[in-house]
């Protein structure tokens, strides 16, 4: 932040579930709540550890975003959410539509991103 670097990217699966990006970010914003409004936070999720690939189903997306929001404990909004790449089994319009209708339009998430499509 001191260097003006305020676009931060993290991942639900970057690190173990009890030590992932969201856990670290929650600790940071607990100490520095004044930074929450100044950081643009992009989070990647919807990754399936069994298939080692993206799960673009509405169920997986909901579980992922809800989980990430819960881990942040209200200290910082997720400004951008992206799926961990494209799931070939789910139409992109369904994946992105879920994020948009259920999270962006309700204000829970700021926007949607695409990763390596």
């Amino acid at each position: 932040m001191l260097a003006g670097s305020n676009f931060w990217n993290g991942g639900e699966f970057y690190g173990p579930p009890d030590g992932n990006s969201l856990v670290l970010l929650e600790k940071y914003f607990a100490q520095r709540p004044e930074d929450a409004g100044n950081v643009v936070l992009s989070i990647k999720g919807a990754f399936n550890h069994d298939t080692m690939g993206a799960d673009g189903s509405p169920e997986a997306i909901r579980q992922s975003i809800d989980g990430c929001i819960a881990q942040l404990r209200g200290r910082k909004r997720i400004d951008i959410f992206e799926c961990a790449r494209r799931d070939p089994n789910v139409p992109l319009v369904l994946s992105l539509g879920t994020i948009d209708k259920e999270y962006v339009q309700t204000g829970k998430v700021g926007g949607v991103d695409l990763s390596e499509v």
């Binding site: 260097a3 003006g4 670097s5 676009f7 931060w8 990217n9 992009s42 690939g53 790449r85 494209r86 070939p88 991103d113 390596e116 499509v117």
Partner: protein, 138 residues
Amino acid sequence: MCPVPDGIPLVAYSPVGRGFLIGAYNTAEDVPAQLRVLPRFQAENFATNRQLAGQVESMATRKGCTTAQFAIGWVRALARRPGMPVITPIPRACTAERVEENTREVNISDEEMAKIDAIQAKFEVKEARYPDFIPTDT
């Protein structure tokens, strides 16, 4: 690179090539296990690709900055080209020193960009960024 529709910014991950460009790995044996799935880091391709990293190092040395700063600066400079979107590089850093290093902005001139273009035109990077089982360009 595929054209990006107007108004959509680009986030550039691994601007320092997962450490490759800063000479974190001198031989294929130095590459950590989790990166060995990537074709460009594999033994049969490593030595060739390391030459490109060497050229980046030389340019950075001449410029008086670190290779990471040079690489990040190149990513940012691409945004100046016609039709390019806003580009935000997101280099990883595990120490405060690296954060300070990465965030010191270095301006890569048009002349330097042209030199890099010339190097890239002649240099054949060995193999794809990802193996077939990791999807890209879907």
